[in-house]
């Protein structure tokens, strides 16, 4: 198989495959679940074959011409490969975890369909080299999310799903206007053709709006905590691995890889990112709902990633790339731990939990590991990414922003420990053992990977370095 | 020539006005429909007068005839609806026909 075939398969196997899941369920439910796992595994495996290409640092472009410049273009470069490996892998783990988690729920067909479609669309988005196709996959993902958030069908849940969909759609629509403005001045949607173009400030504003809404950055973030009503698997998928990274990825693809930012934008975006990070961390400190805390924490960490990319220097970019990986692993781990806890205790409020380390030690340790990674404690992976981002910030001359970002890190430390103490330590208020093996396994694996990714950081760091060199081609 | 046209058109406009006035102020549905008929007269007058003035009477005439046929069809349908409405509401008041709103 050549590179193009692999990439096309990566994108279309899950997308088309997802629609066969309901068909598979006609045979039997286990077959359906197994088929979903197979699809997830295929999606996770396929991009791994692209790794050699990624390390080589080249890019391959695949193009199918359509009218009006709406060509279907795939860019296969280190950035895309990096992102696709991270997303598909976490997605795959989440499918495995789902086997246990939604075992007793209704609408499983829809669930698996949407999850696999979600992952597939993510692959599509990651490789897309045309603004409109980025938007296209972006919206497919939004639809999947909307259904998944409202998965339990309760009235309020569905309302929150609608809120999430509306806010992200609003942002995306505004972003589309930005894309079209670019089209208006360049007559092209093709990212590969427009590299190095300086785009107008309004377009930047419009596009940023979309990215912020999708990546849940202040002030368009409140849908994300509300989206916590979804099944935990979904929130993990949404918050940790895939969804919120879309906006960031698009930032890298659009503003780093392709266009140049005009005027003061390179100085404004870091400030926005840091404010977002700080406000969300503060909110996480105040919140008491387990999943909402983690969701706010996600918003906060996303701020870091934005910060890194917006600095437009090597340390920042490769820091953010690593951050995507590390945060994906660790935050997915945290959410899935929360999932195990909530699944077992049927409670969401951390004040009502306690002492669970006795009955679910693996979950507790995994939670702690992932928390360390999110905080940025070596040797966990999160340390390197956060460190690089801070380095980049200072290098770009924003010492104050770096200080605020570090203050945010202190807040992160504070609330994560608060949660850990409240949930796992202290008096046991509810006894709830770890039940499902597949869930615990996934959580432990994620925690372990967070650690391994830190200890053997040089491998992902190399990839991030290649990717940075590739997208930051304008950095001498 | 223009004077003739002016004459006819002015009267056609007058008819249209009368019809519209009826539609705007009257309450009885049949009366309303009579208003519509008045408007139709204005329209057919305008059509024919234009043809007449432009020495195109034959064509205009055929248009007017077709228009009259349309009118008949329309009247038949409308009156059928009115009768049905009357059967339902036992009233011909247009103000009672405000169930659909918002």
């Amino acid at each position: 198989m050549n590179i193009e075939t692999i990439t096309l398969l990566t994108v279309f196997v899950p997308i088309i495959g997802s629609f066969t899941i309901p068909l598979a369920s006609l045979i039997s439910k286990p077959v359906r679940s197994a088929w979903a796992v197979v699809l997830g595994a295929a999606t996770a495996l396929l991009p791994l074959f692209l790794l050699p290409t990624a390390f080589a640092g080249g890019e391959t472009i695949l193009r199918k011409e359509f009218i009006l410049g709406l060509d279907f273009i795939l860019i296969i470069d280190p950035l895309a490969i990096f992102m696709s490996i991270v997303s598909s892998f976490v997605g795959f783990l989440i499918i495995i975890y789902s086997l246990g988690y939604i075992h007793h729920e209704e609408n499983q067909n829809e669930y698996y369909l949407l999850v696999v479609l979600f992952i597939g669309s993510m692959m599509g988005l990651v490789y897309s080299g045309n603004l409109i196709f980025i938007y296209l996959f972006w919206e497919i993902i939004a639809v999947c999310c909307w259904r998944l958030i409202g998965f339990y069908r309760l009235k309020d849940f569905v309302r929150k799903a609608d809120k999430a969909f509306l806010v992200t759609f609003f942002g995306a629509a505004v972003m589309l206007l930005g894309f079209i403005q670019i089209y208006g001045s360049t007559n092209s949607f093709d990212l590969t053709m427009m590299r190095g173009t300086v785009i107008p400030g309004t377009a930047v504003l419009l596009i940023l709006f979309g990215m912020f809404s999708k990546s849940a950055t202040v002030p368009l973030h409140t849908w994300l905590p509300d989206a916590g009503v979804a099944p935990t698997t979904v929130t993990a998928l949404l918050h940790a691995a895939v969804l919120v990274k879309i906006g960031i990825y698009a930032y890298a693809r659009i503003f780093l890889y392709t266009f140049q930012l005009p005027g003061d934008w390179p100085n404004i975006i870091p400030i926005l990112a840091v404010i977002s990070s700080l406000v969300a961390a503060a909110a996480a400190t105040v919140e008491n709902n387990f999943k909402r805390i983690l969701a706010y924490s996600t918003v906060s960490q996303i701020g870091y990633i934005f910060l890194g990319f917006s600095l437009a220097n090597e340390a920042g970019i490769s820091g953010s790339l690593l951050f995507i990986l590390m945060h994906g692993l660790a935050k997915a781990g945290l959410f899935l731990c929360a999932g195990i806890v909530i699944h077992a205790t049927h409670k969401q409020d951390v004040r009502e939990m306690g002492g669970l380390i006795k009955t679910m030690p693996i979950t507790a340790i995994a939670f702690l590991f992932c928390a360390f990674s999110v905080i940025g404690i070596p040797p966990f992976g999160g340390f390197f990414s956060k460190f690089l981002v801070i380095m980049g910030t200072v290098q770009a001359g924003h010492v104050w922003l770096a200080a605020v970002a570090l203050f945010t890190a202190v807040l992160t430390m504070f609330y994560l420990f608060k949660v850990f103490s409240q949930v796992f330590l202290g008096e046991a208020k509810v006894a709830a053992p770890e039940k499902t093996k597949s869930m615990v396994f996934v959580v432990a694996l994620l925690a372990f990977l967070s650690l391994v990714a830190g200890i053997f950081v040089s491998f992902p760091a190399k990839l991030a370095e290649v990717a940075t060199a590739h997208i930051g081609w304008w950095l001498k | 020539m223009n004077n003739t046209w002016f004459l006819y058109m002015a009267f056609a406009a007058g008819l249209l006005f009368v019809g519209l006035y009826c539609l705007l102020t009257m309450k009885n549905v049949i009366k309303l429909f009579i208003g519509i008929e008045v408007i139709s007269k204005g329209v057919s007058l305008a059509l024919l007068a234009t043809g007449f003035v432009k020495k195109n009477t034959l064509l205009a005439q055929s248009l007017v005839i077709t228009f009259i046929v349309v009118e008949v069809s329309l009247v038949a349908t409308a009156l059928a609806i009115i009768i049905n409405i009357y059967r339902h509401t036992k009233s011909l008041d247009i103000r009672k026909l405000t169930k659909l709103k918002g």
């Binding site: 919140e287 404690i377 070596p378 340390f383 380095m391 202190v410 370095e465 | 539609l23 247009i94 026909l97």
Partner: protein, 621 residues
């Protein structure tokens, strides 16, 4: 020796940590054996590397100038040796003390992991590995404190947060330094502390002194003294963290930045040092718990080191570094002897203890030596290093710092008189039944440390010439005297005189207090405690008003609440309420217009016609 050897001090303890963690719970002997073996091996490595002195190991790591660089030279080899020595002693001690702890496997794992990380931090010649190892210690810090039991988590979190804060400051400092110099390799950096570099210096300094436990980053240490196992106290706060913190501080002031004598930065350091000395020792004086008293001293003594290094005068710096190693020894010894007492009696409250010198003579001896050393009694090592610091402080031209140091010396001795008097001497108490001397693995480390205290004091040339002087070589201007052994033990100079006077004052204070307090030694500090004004300050301090951590937590909570209520909720309110309400308001008004009246609709149409006609008329040119 190949450069790869430098990986051994890191990998070996790490491996030992993993093995200790994995050994099943009931195979105690095996675990202890392996632990001892490993610590001996590390100690051997320490000696071996100390004899090598110069070795570099470089490996590309993450790009961007971030390489895995280790460098062994005289300073780091000296610290490395110290670290491995303490590791061995603590391990030996732990074989008895931690025998019955349910989480002993974890304990050894954390200890060896700490050793690995500390070794790494000392050897690192690149900021990234440095921070990696340095901040990694937070993990073991957290883990070790939680071993202490139920209530320890709060303290563990506190320790974690404070240290984490300091480490983040250091990261910021490093980042600034990087942006100034463009390199991360420590040995290549040397900048003048001007402009942004001042910020970098202060940030890195916070990292270093935070690790060492200076004020105001010390408050977790007294708490940990209560909650955490005593071996932990001897291991991390007393020995490892002091060594690391002061090592880094010395590196910062000597290598990375050219700290000028009398510069404002030097002044800052000295103020921090002096404040730490005085306030911590005042707190130590009134403590009623043996371990807690020791822990405050652990803080107070850091002040001396910082003061010494902050003088930016060779003798002061040398004194600071010497004090660091001395302090590690006697404070470790003190904690271990406290542990020994606790091991046998089950308590460390001064009130309950008394007259143990008969039952536990070896422990009492060890304690006494260490206590005298810490108090700076001639001819023990504490005396030597403190004298050097006094000299240094005086030479800066700010005698106030020397005075502060002397005040510290007074109360140090007074509090140790109180502690020793109430625990080992004086009458027996009823609470504690007769006890035996602790087993050999417990008292041997104490005795070794006591012995070292004496050795380093009497034969102070040995450490000063072999360890300290090489560090300063190349950092002082040519021709300046770096032979500090000259008046090391000399009693006949004004400085030494004042020091001895201080000790006498302390003795007087103790006896006055002892007499006043019904001849109960643990009440000996009460006169000072009850002194007007000072009493109020003490009360406030006991209520943790001066604990920046507590205030910081309150601040964090309030700050978060303000941001949450001030930014997050209003945004949500906007989406949830304002947008929806506006939407339905618009919708409602428009719906109201659709009354269902035919005339109404017709009027719209006609109006629309007129509007369209007018608009077209207007737009036609």
């Amino acid at each position: 020796m190949t450069p790869q050897t430098l990986l051994w001090p890191i990998l070996l303890p790490a491996l030992a940590a993993v093995i200790c963690f994995l050994i099943p719970r009931n195979m105690k002997l095996l675990r202890e054996g392996i632990a001892l073996l490993a610590s001996v091996a590390v100690l051997y490595l320490g000696f071996a590397l100390f004899s090598v002195k110069n070795l570099e190991f470089r490996l590309p790591w993450m790009g961007n100038g971030i390489n895995f660089e280790l460098r062994l030279y005289h300073f780091s080899s000296f610290i490395l040796l110290g670290l491995s020595g303490f590791l061995f002693l603590i391990t030996l001690y732990s074989t008895v003390k931690m025998k019955n702890d349910p989480r002993v496997g974890e304990y050894y794992a954390y200890v060896f992991l700490s050793a690995a990380l500390a070794n790494g931090a000392v050897l690192a010649d690149n900021f990234v590995p440095l921070v990696f190892f340095w901040e990694g210690l937070l993990l073991t810090l957290y883990g070790l404190i939680t071993i202490g039991g139920k209530s320890s988590n709060r303290t563990a979190v506190k320790a974690f947060l404070i240290s984490g804060f300091c480490d983040f400051c250091m990261i910021l400092g490093i980042a600034i330094l990087w942006s100034i110099t463009g390199t991360l390799t420590i040995s290549q950096i040397s900048v003048q502390p001007e402009g942004l570099a001042v910020t970098a210096f202060i940030m890195m300094m916070i990292g270093a002194i935070g690790k060492a436990g200076a004020m105001p980053f010390h408050t977790w240490i007294p708490d940990a003294a209560i909650d955490a196992p005593v071996t932990f106290m001897a291991f991390l706060p007393a020995a490892f963290e002091k060594l690391l913190g002061i090592y880094l501080l010395a590196r910062i002031t000597l290598d990375l930045f050219k700290l000028e004598k009398g510069s404002s930065l030097s002044l800052v350091l000295m103020i921090i040092g002096a404040a730490t000395i005085v306030f911590a020792v005042m707190m130590a004086l009134i403590q009623k718990d043996f371990k807690r008293l020791l822990s405050y001293h652990a803080v107070s003594q850091v002040g001396y080191m910082i003061l010494g290094i902050g003088t930016a005068i060779p003798i002061g710096i040398a004194g600071g570094i010497f004090h660091m190693i001395n302090h590690a020894m006697y404070k470790c010894g003190l904690f271990l002897s406290a542990g020994s007492v606790e091991h046998r009696t089950g308590t460390t409250e001064l009130k309950k203890l008394g007259g143990l010198s008969k039952d536990m003579p070896l422990t009492a001896f060890g304690f006494s030596v260490c206590a005298l050393a810490i108090s700076g009694v001639w001819p023990l090592n504490g005396f030597v290093s403190k004298e050097m610091i006094f000299h240094g402080a005086l030479e800066t031209g700010y005698p106030v710092f020397a005075i502060a140091a002397w005040v510290g010396a007074i109360f140090t001795f007074a509090s140790f008189l109180k502690a020793g008097h109430s625990v080992f001497f004086g009458p027996r108490t009823k609470e504690v039944p007769p006890v035996k001397e602790s087993p050999a693995p417990v008292f041997i480390p104490i005795l070794i440390l006591a012995f070292l205290c004496i050795t380093f004091g009497v034969f102070n040339k040995l450490p000063l010439v072999n360890f300290i002087q090489p560090i300063l070589e190349g950092h002082v201007e040519a021709g300046e005297n770096i032979d500090f052994t000259a008046h090391a033990l000399s009693l006949f100079n004004p400085v030494a005189g004042i020091s001895i006077l201080c000790l006498l004052i302390a003795l007087c204070l103790h006896f006055t207090g002892w007499k006043r307090g019904d001849k109960k030694a643990y009440l000996a500090s009460e006169p000072v405690h009850k002194f007007p004004v000072i009493k109020q300050i003490y009360d406030l301090a006991e209520a943790r008003v001066f604990d920046l951590y507590e205030q910081g937590i309150v601040f964090l909570r309030c700050f978060s609440l303000v941001l949450f209520k001030g930014i997050d909720r209003p945004i949500d309110f906007f989406f949830e309420k304002i947008v929806t309400k506006t939407g339905s308001a618009f919708s409602g008004v428009l719906q109201k217009a659709h009354t269902g009246h035919y005339a109404n609709y017709l009027a719209w149409c006609l109006g629309g016609l007129l509007a369209v006609a007018a608009l077209i008329n207007l737009l036609i040119k």
